[in-house]
């Protein structure tokens, strides 16, 4: 019974259900999260099970949603809020940057904000404009936030449970193109904590560093590379902030080469940071500059063109080919 084949969406739903069961102070709210169960059905059934006071619809206003969550967290609750899509988190930006991220620090730790902002993000589902942004870099750049993103069904459950239990605000980025990916999982199995990266595949020749929606693509690339005789390590960050330097750098030092794979646009992004810190810390282990496979620096394309924007197995393999093997 503990082993089951479920989708990431179902795992997230179960995590919310179990968290609400475990702790009365957990409340879930946002746009369409009640009767509808969210446009992605992540909150399906929660209002029916826990009542309107525990899972409820709000007026359509994201700054209001996040701001109200701040107040509820100040007053003893653990709010979990949903931004319906990545780009619809932007109206709440001031609340997130100027309050969510700063309240504990501002008050010398007296006011903690144990709250979770869930944001479905990224492309790959044929969404029209504003429905496919990868907004994690904005949050990762903001000190005081914790930013995590699952790439597996097990992590979707495990990380969301940990995020809700976390004493500080967590921006929980959900790769929407993985919502329907199913895996056989045991939800009772303990997952690594926030702040820990995981090596998803070992290989001696080079390291792929990825997170969220880019992880399955990196794993697929590693599979193809292996068939072609090159063994790649794949690191799944899981937690963008805090960053697990130890796991990432250990992998890079072992392999001497690395490619960062991320779905977001590259300029001044989380992927820039990964390249910068890996290079700073592992410079003399590197046989070639760390390469990036990211989106182009353009607005997310319309559905018919999105395939050109997303990191692909081929682009990853090309980047790996480019790691100056002749030099080594």
């Amino acid at each position: 019974m503990t082993h089951m084949k479920i989708s990431m969406a179902q795992a997230l739903n179960q995590a919310l259900r179990d968290a609400m069961q475990a702790d009365d102070s957990v409340v879930m709210f946002g746009e369409d999260v009640g009767a509808l169960g969210g446009v992605f059905r992540i909150t399906d059934g929660l209002t029916a099970e826990f009542g309107e006071n525990r899972c409820f619809d709000t007026p359509l206003a994201e700054a209001g949603i996040v701001g109200v969550a701040v107040g509820m967290a100040m007053n003893g609750m653990r709010p979990v809020v949903e931004m319906q899509f990545d780009a619809f988190g932007y109206p709440a930006f001031e609340q997130v940057v100027s309050h969510v991220a700063k309240m504990r620090n501002r008050t010398r730790g007296r006011v903690a904000l144990p709250m979770v902002i869930r944001i479905p993000y990224g492309g790959g589902i044929g969404g029209v404009e504003h429905h496919s942004d990868s907004s994690e870099s904005y949050y990762a750049h903001t000190p005081g936030l914790t930013v995590v993103t699952p790439a597996t069904v097990a992590d979707a459950y495990g990380l969301l449970r940990k995020a809700i239990e976390f004493p500080d605000p967590v921006v929980f980025m959900e790769p929407k193109k993985l919502y329907w990916a199913k895996e056989e999982v045991d939800l009772t199995e303990e997952q690594p904590g926030i702040g820990t990266a995981v090596v998803r595949r070992e290989g001696a020749d080079a390291t792929l560093i990825a997170y969220g929606p880019a992880v399955p693509v990196a794993l697929e690339a590693a599979e193809v590379a292996a068939a072609e005789g090159r063994q790649l390590t794949v690191v799944d960050l899981r937690s963008v902030v805090p960053f697990d330097d130890e796991t990432v750098c250990a992998a890079v030092r072992r392999t001497g080469r690395a490619v960062v794979v991320a779905e977001a646009t590259g300029f001044a992004s989380v992927s820039s940071e990964i390249v910068a810190r890996v290079t700073e810390k592992c410079f003399h282990s590197l046989a070639a500059p760390v390469r990036r496979v990211t989106a182009f620096d353009i607005p997310f394309p319309p559905p018919k063109l999105e395939k050109y924007q997303l990191p692909s197995v081929d682009r990853i393999l090309d980047a790996v080919d480019d790691l100056q093997w002749e030099d080594s």
Binding site: E31, D32, A35, P302
Partner: protein, 362 residues
């Protein structure tokens, strides 16, 4: 009540000039539109309905990524465009395709966003229609900016800015109304209150007596109309546009209507509302009541009907033909329009993609 309050508060009841049985009603402040206007409106309603039906069918056939239908709201859609002059502007949302087409925009270009080959398909300057806005209420300050610029330039442009009931909850709604009021900008804010924001009913959206009551908080006159009565809408919106043009500043109009269908094809409305709630609205259909009225007046000649039907047939044929073929897209477009002049970085990235595609082809 002070006279200011009287001026700014909406009528006690939504203005209705032709009731749901097709019977005309007297009103102290508004008069029935002319026969010509009603006949023109009739044809546009028929065409608008067909547009909605055809677009929905094309979603089912995979020719559109998504279609937020205005089925049942066609009177609002048509009226919003009919009351505008050539130089005026329309600021539509994702649900207002019928209004855009009524304004003269090519139907296929209108549906570019929803087909998914580009973010917007028409030239906003050709018919003075802004790109459809997806982030709710964000188009409203743009509308104010266009109107304010027009005023500074001495032009008598009026801007019609559309928004849904849900959209009124966003901060941008508030800021736009306030700027418009302080700037005395000629904007008509037109709220199509269709009772739902996806699954969220109006009662969870607002506790106000009506959305038109939001006007007074900005010093903007609020008015409300039966959103399924084309005659009432033409009168109310027409007067609002006239006032705005005459320098009386922004106007707020709420239309009481109903989203008869699901939010989009991707939505399942049975999860959050009973069919019982929908049924009475079918009897309030905007086309039906206008048809009854026009027939009763003896104005609905077979010529008028055939003409309307011909336009409807034409638009649905246009949609089928225009949307059936897979649109041609060019990956180079991804970089072509971002800046007036490409940057070194976009040039390099465009070249990367070009090379990649060339290698794939080879």
């Amino acid at each position: 009540m002070t006279t200011v309050e009287e001026r700014l508060l909406p009528s006690a009841e939504p203005v209705c000039l032709i009731d749901q049985n097709g019977v005309p009603r007297d009103h102290s402040s508004y008069r029935l539109p002319t026969k010509a206007a009603l006949l023109d409106g009739y044809a546009q309603l028929v065409r608008g309905r067909r547009f909605n039906d055809q677009a929905s069918a094309l979603v089912r056939q995979g020719r559109l990524a998504v279609y937020p239908s205005s089925f049942g709201q066609e009177a609002c859609q048509v009226a919003a465009s009919m009351v505008l002059r050539e130089g005026d502007w329309l600021f539509p949302t994702y649900r207002d395709s019928v209004s855009i087409v009524s304004r003269g925009v090519d139907p296929i270009e209108t549906l570019t966003l929803l087909r998914g080959d580009w973010h917007s398909g028409y030239d906003p300057y050709e018919h003075k229609v802004a790109p459809q806005s997806t982030p709710l209420a964000t188009q409203l300050p743009h509308a104010v900016g266009v109107a304010h610029a027009a005023r500074l330039k001495g032009e008598d442009t009026v801007v019609m800015a559309l928004v849904g009931d849900g959209g009124t909850s966003e901060g941008d709604f508030h800021e736009a109304l306030n700027f418009a009021a302080v700037f005395h900008a000629p904007v008509v804010f037109f709220v199509q209150n269709n009772e739902y924001a996806i699954s969220v009913p109006l009662a969870k959206q607002s506790a106000a007596p009506s959305l038109a009551h939001k006007g007074i908080g900005y010093g903007v006159p609020g008015e409300r109309a039966d959103g399924n009565d084309l005659a009432g809408l033409l009168a109310v919106l027409g007067q609002a546009v006239e006032k705005a043009r005459a320098g009386e500043g922004p106007q707020l109009i709420e239309a009481h209507t109903y989203r008869v269908q699901a939010h989009t094809n991707a939505d399942d409305a049975t999860r959050y509302r009973e069919d019982d709630e929908v049924t009475p609205w079918l009897d309030r259909d905007p086309i039906q009541r206008l048809t009854t009225y026009l027939e009763h007046e003896g104005w609905l000649s077979s010529e008028v009907k055939e003409n309307a039907e011909a336009q409807a047939v034409q638009v649905s044929a246009q949609l089928r033909e225009g949307l059936m073929p897979e649109p041609e897209v060019d990956p180079a477009d991804l970089f072509a329009y971002l800046y007036a002049e490409q940057t070194q970085q976009t040039r390099e990235q465009a070249a990367f993609l070009r090379d990649e595609l060339a290698r794939e082809e080879a």
